[in-house]
């Protein structure tokens, strides 16, 4: 419900905005989500950070949630918009269950629904400021897709959002293969998450890995990764050129 007039500076070149709303910028944000297909289903990883600008403000934010029986949704971007998406999906799943016909929405359907929502909001210049990763298994079929805040959507064997696009995907391209075991999949995700921890300023060292298979979905307890700092060059990096870094 709106009970206030919108803020418009006098010298604005924008048209009448009394009734329109647009999301201008995100406030509390989550960073990368990384996911891959493995032998039994999907593995997804995300840290538990909610940043407020440059401050690492919240450190126990769950950015991956189960959707219905068959899907897992991970989100980066504005957390309040992610919470709103979860409300929409609650309703979607509820109505699906009320049909009581033995059928249930699978990951492909949920991904399609999210794509429509994100793209339509983009067209109204009022996006949900998120990049989403949707993975799941139904009837033996594994599915892994992604949607961005402007509605760009695709499916692949491995996906990542945010910084993960630049840092994790090259590693996955090189090392992912069909029928990864659970252990290999976890190790590969942890390799990606460790690099993100080193190189992404908004990453925190507290993450969860979620697994979804035909049987169901589990999210690990929060845990931290060991990091390596013992390179000899790290001890005295400015030795060869005093004043440098």
């Amino acid at each position: 419900m709106n009970f206030m007039a919108s803020k418009q500076p006098e010298n604005s070149l924008l048209g009448p905005e009394a009734d329109s709303q647009r999301t201008l910028y995100p406030y509390v944000t989550g960073t990368s989500v990384v996911a891959l297909k493995y032998k039994d289903g999907i593995l997804m990883a995300a840290d538990m950070g909610g940043s407020y600008g440059s401050t690492l403000r919240y450190k126990s934010v769950e950015r991956m949630k189960p959707i219905g029986k068959h899907s897992l949704l991970g989100a980066s971007g504005e957390i309040s918009d992610f919470q709103e998406i979860l409300h929409y999906l609650d309703e979607l799943i509820l109505y699906d269950n009320m049909w009581d016909d033995g059928n249930s929405l699978g990951p492909k359907e949920v991904h399609n629904y999210l794509t429509r929502v994100m793209y339509n909001r983009r067209n109204k210049f009022n996006p949900l400021w998120n990049s989403l990763v949707l993975g799941g298994v139904k009837n033996g079929q594994k599915y892994l897709g992604t949607v961005s805040m402007i509605g760009v959507n695709f499916e692949d064997n491995h996906v990542a959002t945010g910084f993960g696009n630049h840092l994790a995907r090259p590693i996955l391209r090189q090392e992912w293969h069909e029928n990864l075991s659970f252990e290999d999949g976890v190790r590969l995700l942890e390799k990606c998450m460790r690099v993100l921890l080193y190189r992404d300023r908004s990453a925190i060292n507290k993450l969860q890995i979620a697994k979804i298979t035909e049987e169901g979905m589990t999210i690990s307890q929060p845990y931290s990764l060991k990091t390596y700092w013992e390179f000899s060059a790290f001890a005295n990096p400015a030795q060869g050129a005093v004043g440098s870094w």
């Binding site: 419900m1 709106n2 009970f3 206030m4 007039a5 919108s6 803020k7 709303q21 647009r22 999301t23 201008l24 995100p26 406030y27 509390v28 909610g50 407020y52 401050t55 403000r57 919240y58 126990s60 934010v61 504005e78 957390i79 309040s80 919470q83 709103e84």
Partner: protein, 235 residues
């Protein structure tokens, strides 16, 4: 400093607000400064506002926005309580705040901390920052003064404190923030909420501990001059 702000700038609560759970309830705390640009419009404001008998909210950011949001939520909660036939839960109050904050995110500038006690979940604290994210926490800090408290709480916060420990922690924290944040000042107000009810406390500036480079307040220089000079040291 922002040279564009003047006496006609909208009332903003610089603010330090805190909400902390302890074994048995919650303690909410806040400073009391409301500023209009560089001028302190109110030096004794009450930023801890009642929503119901058992739920209070700490307000920060725009004074007008936070007052309106809490007024609407108080109104809704009143009706909800009548319909429900029993006291509203803290979670419901927090979610109503979230709905208003989220759905009007483009127009509002207020960060809120909802705290209270209900018979189902006991003492709970919910943070609702700019944008309308709802996040349940064992403790929450907010307002401009909170920047100076992240490190303090990382070190000083402990699970399962007693009521007195929790209140002392809150008073100390608000006092530390006031020392460094120009937008926070005045007195420290606390509200303790548990199964027994609600207690308001008031800690005026001169009752607080002195921090680095702060001096004991005197009535006048004349008192200092007329007091006996210190004894010479014996080495």
């Amino acid at each position: 400093m922002d040279l564009n702000m003047d006496l006609n700038a909208p009332h903003s609560m610089g603010t330090t607000i805190i909400g902390v759970t302890y074994n048995g309830g919650v303690v909410l705390g806040a400073d009391s400064r409301t500023s209009t640009g560089m001028y302190v419009a109110n030096r004794a404001s009450d930023k801890i506002t009642q929503l119901t008998d058992n739920v209070y909210v700490c307000r920060s950011g725009s004074a007008a926005d936070s007052q309106l949001v809490s007024d609407y939520v108080r109104y809704f909660l009143h009706q909800h309580t009548i319909q429900l036939g029993q006291p509203a839960t803290v979670k419901v109050a927090a979610n109503l705040i979230r709905l208003l904050s989220y759905n009007n995110k483009n127009m509002l500038e207020t960060g809120l901390i909802v705290g209270g006690w209900d018979k189902y979940e006991g003492g709970k604290i919910y943070g609702i920052p700019l944008g309308g994210t709802l996040i349940e926490q064992p403790f929450a800090i907010g307002g401009s003064g909170s920047s100076y408290l992240y490190g303090f709480f990382d070190q000083a916060w402990k699970e399962g404190m007693t009521k007195d420990e929790a209140e002392q922690l809150v008073v100390k924290a608000v006092s530390l923030a006031i020392a460094r944040d120009g937008a926070s000042g005045g007195v420290v107000r606390t509200v303790v909420i548990n199964s027994e009810g609600v207690t308001r406390n008031f800690y005026p500036g001169d009752k607080l501990q002195l921090w680095h480079e702060e001096l004991e307040p005197q009535n006048s220089l004349l008192d200092i001059l007329s007091s006996p000079s210190p004894e010479p040291m014996n080495i």
